[in-house]
């Protein structure tokens, strides 16, 4: 009696141990990947948070002589304001260095401020202007002033002025709205994500509008209507292979066909979206077919047995059940398209584009390409822009996935 349940004790222990080991291996693997994700997110956030603020310098500008905006020579006014702030600066070289405290865009900033508040004319107000990126980096603590002067961009004289401004309270840090509202720039303190964001959204719109209906139609035909034949096998193999083709090949195809043969506008979201659609199509077809296959055949039999036609069966019963799965597949494909750089480079979406695109045929760039361009720039200020742009890209991906989840929950029906 006592032997009951105990005969294989040693063996049983080993089995339980192996189960225990396997569980912990799994947990470790998950912890490990979560850890790396956390490290990545934290480091990008730390690097990128600088892009959300920028340094501004307060200057007292002399507008007493001006009665209209046209009377103001913005550049000269700012120069005089700077020289008045630092009267000790006299030499030509130092004067030139002094002018570099301000961002090249500050003349326009003056004009904009006067435009917004014409009462400034005839006065000598104290206004805030965007500082150049070296100063911006200094205020963010990114410049190591313990290093010898010849090893840093920010020279000692400039540093003296900045510290003087700081002690007078004429240096502040503000939220950098320009990052979200302006296009690319050669000056890191002026560069923004907006044109790339719009370019990405336009491209993805084209991509979705083309690949989703086409993909679903193709999947529906292959799965619900076509007879199994050597041709359908051939098509299936090709679709599976296309899903694995490197994206740059689609870029080459787009360049050869859309740009050279059809003469569509280069660098445009239209062509970008078409290329991305080519790339996404196989993914959507495969996901949609899987979704269709998961619809129980009994539903089809029920509808056909009622005398529904094939099209009625498909559109009334099968498609609604498969749609959540199709949407998930489409969003996965779109997310991949959103992060794609190589094919867009091939069709010229890598150009330096300052203006925000107004339509599908305007020259544009996209978020990942913008990240790639910034990552390639030597100025330190672009480092934080790169990280911040990555965060924006990740944010967009999260939003897309949330949309997918919401749509899936909304359409999901149990059967």
């Amino acid at each position: 009696m006592t032997k009951l349940f105990t005969s294989a004790e040693a063996h049983l222990k080993a089995r339980h141990r192996s189960e225990w080991r396997f569980r912990w291996l799994g947990r470790l693997a998950i912890l490990f990947s979560l850890g790396f994700l956390a490290i990545m997110l934290v480091s990008i956030t730390l690097l990128g948070k600088g892009a959300l603020s920028r340094a501004e310098i307060a200057l007292t500008v002399d507008l007493t002589e001006a009665s209209t905006l046209e009377d103001v020579n913005a550049k000269k006014t700012l120069r005089n304001a700077l020289f008045a702030t630092f009267p000790e600066v006299t030499s030509r070289g130092e004067k030139r260095a002094l002018l570099k405290l301000l961002s090249p865009d500050s003349g326009y900033e003056l004009a904009r401020q006067i435009e917004a508040n014409p009462a400034l004319l005839g006065q000598s107000p104290t206004l805030w202007f965007t500082a150049s990126d070296d100063i911006d980096q200094y205020t963010k603590g990114a410049v190591d002033i313990t290093q010898p002067e010849n090893r840093r961009q920010l020279k000692d004289t400039t540093l003296g002025w900045v510290q003087a401004l700081e002690s007078r309270g004429a240096l502040r840090s503000v939220f950098n709205t320009a990052f979200f509202t302006s296009g690319d720039s050669r000056e890191p303190e002026l560069a923004g994500i907006f044109s790339a964001l719009v370019g990405s959204i336009l491209s993805l719109t084209v991509c979705f509008a083309l690949s989703f209906p086409l993909g679903i139609m193709a999947a529906l035909y292959l799965e619900e209507f076509s007879k199994k034949s050597r041709w359908s096998d051939f098509i299936e193999v090709n679709i599976n292979n296309l899903a694995a083709v490197p994206s740059i090949v689609f870029g080459l195809l787009g360049m050869a066909v859309f740009l050279n043969t059809f003469g569509l506008p280069r660098s445009s979201p239209l062509v970008g979206g078409m290329v991305l659609a080519l790339m996404t199509l196989p993914t959507i077809i495969i996901a949609s077919r899987a979704a269709l296959r998961s619809v129980p055949p009994s539903i089809r039999e029920a509808a056909l047995g009622m005398g529904a036609t094939g099209v009625q069966t498909t559109f009334h019963h099968v498609l609604p059940l498969a749609l959540p799965g199709m949407l998930t597949g489409a969003i996965v494909g779109m997310a991949r398209a959103l992060g794609e750089t190589a094919p867009l480079i091939m069709i010229g979406m890598v150009a330096f584009i300052v203006d925000v695109p107004n339509g599908f045929t305007d020259a544009a760039t996209s978020l990942p390409v913008q990240i790639f361009l910034w990552a390639d720039s030597p100025e330190r200020g672009f480092l934080e822009k790169t990280s911040a742009a990555i965060l924006v890209l990740l944010g967009l991906l999260i939003v897309m996935n949330l949309v997918a989840i919401v749509l899936r929950k909304k359409f999901e029906r149990r059967f």
Partner: protein, 254 residues
């Protein structure tokens, strides 16, 4: 053979690819009676059933030879519209398969696609009539908008029957309609089949000889693709002519 049969099958051969599943079946199905098809698994009874409303068309490799005439018209003629045929010959499947929609929509779907409803009151009338006939009305009258899949297995199967009769077929094919149900639900379905006989011709495939004996007036015994014997149920079970039938009903094969 009986007088004025609604279905007459002559020399029906069915092939799946190179494999022959039915060998020259000839069978008459009498009007307003329940005919049961019995036989061991893989004997071809379901294949024969599915030939009657051409559900076999859905199988790419399936080929049907011979004549199956309904009301004198060969359903495999070129001018026969499968959609119209299936409206005339309803089907109830082995596993209850209501659409993942409301009870109301389940019943009204067939009439809707066949253009049988003109107004909202039409729809309500058809739904009520069909559910009443399927003996489900009392149970679901106050929850027509709930999903059909929320019903119990037996109720779901009766919903499928209601769905089938909503398009006013003259023949209902049932492919082991009670095999997924418990004995009580089975008894309810069997009773229902007996009531439906007054209005419809019913052909039922069943694995249970007791069920065949209980519900059907005529029985056809299939074995390995052959129709071995067909006749009035009582005769077939008490005095089978063929040795194979004898062996099957006494439990020696099958």
């Amino acid at each position: 053979m009986s007088k004025d049969p609604i279905i007459t099958a002559r020399d029906v051969n069915v092939f799946y690819g190179d494999k022959q599943a039915l060998n020259g079946i000839s069978l008459d199905v009498p009007r307003h009676k329940v005919t049961s098809l019995i036989g061991p698994s893989g004997c071809g009874k379901s294949t024969f059933l599915r030939s009657i409303n051409r559900m076999n068309d859905l199988v790419d490799i399936c080929r049907v030879e011979g004549d199956i005439k309904i009301e004198g018209k060969n359903i495999y003629d070129k001018d026969v519209d499968v959609v119209a045929l299936r409206a005339h010959v309803g089907m109830v499947f082995q596993k209850p398969n209501p659409f993942p929609k409301s009870i109301f929509e389940n019943v009204i779907y067939g009439p809707k696609i066949h253009g049988l409803i003109k107004s909202k009151s039409d729809a309500e009338e058809i739904v009520e009539k069909s559910l009443r006939r399927a003996g489900l009305w009392k149970e679901v009258a106050d929850r027509l908008q709930e999903p059909g899949t929320s019903l119990s297995g037996g109720q779901q199967q009766r919903l499928c029957i209601a769905r089938a009769i909503a398009v006013q077929p003259s023949i209902i094919l049932m492919d082991e309609p009670a095999s997924a149900l418990d004995p009580i639900a089975t008894a309810v379905i069997e009773e229902l089949i007996d009531e439906l006989r007054a209005k419809y011709t019913i052909i039922i495939v069943t694995h249970s000889m007791q069920q065949a004996a209980r519900v059907s007036q005529r029985t056809a015994f299939f074995h390995m693709g052959d129709l071995v014997e067909a006749g009035p149920t009582k005769e077939l079970f008490t005095t089978p002519k063929d040795e194979r039938t004898q062996n099957y009903i006494s439990g020696r094969i099958g």
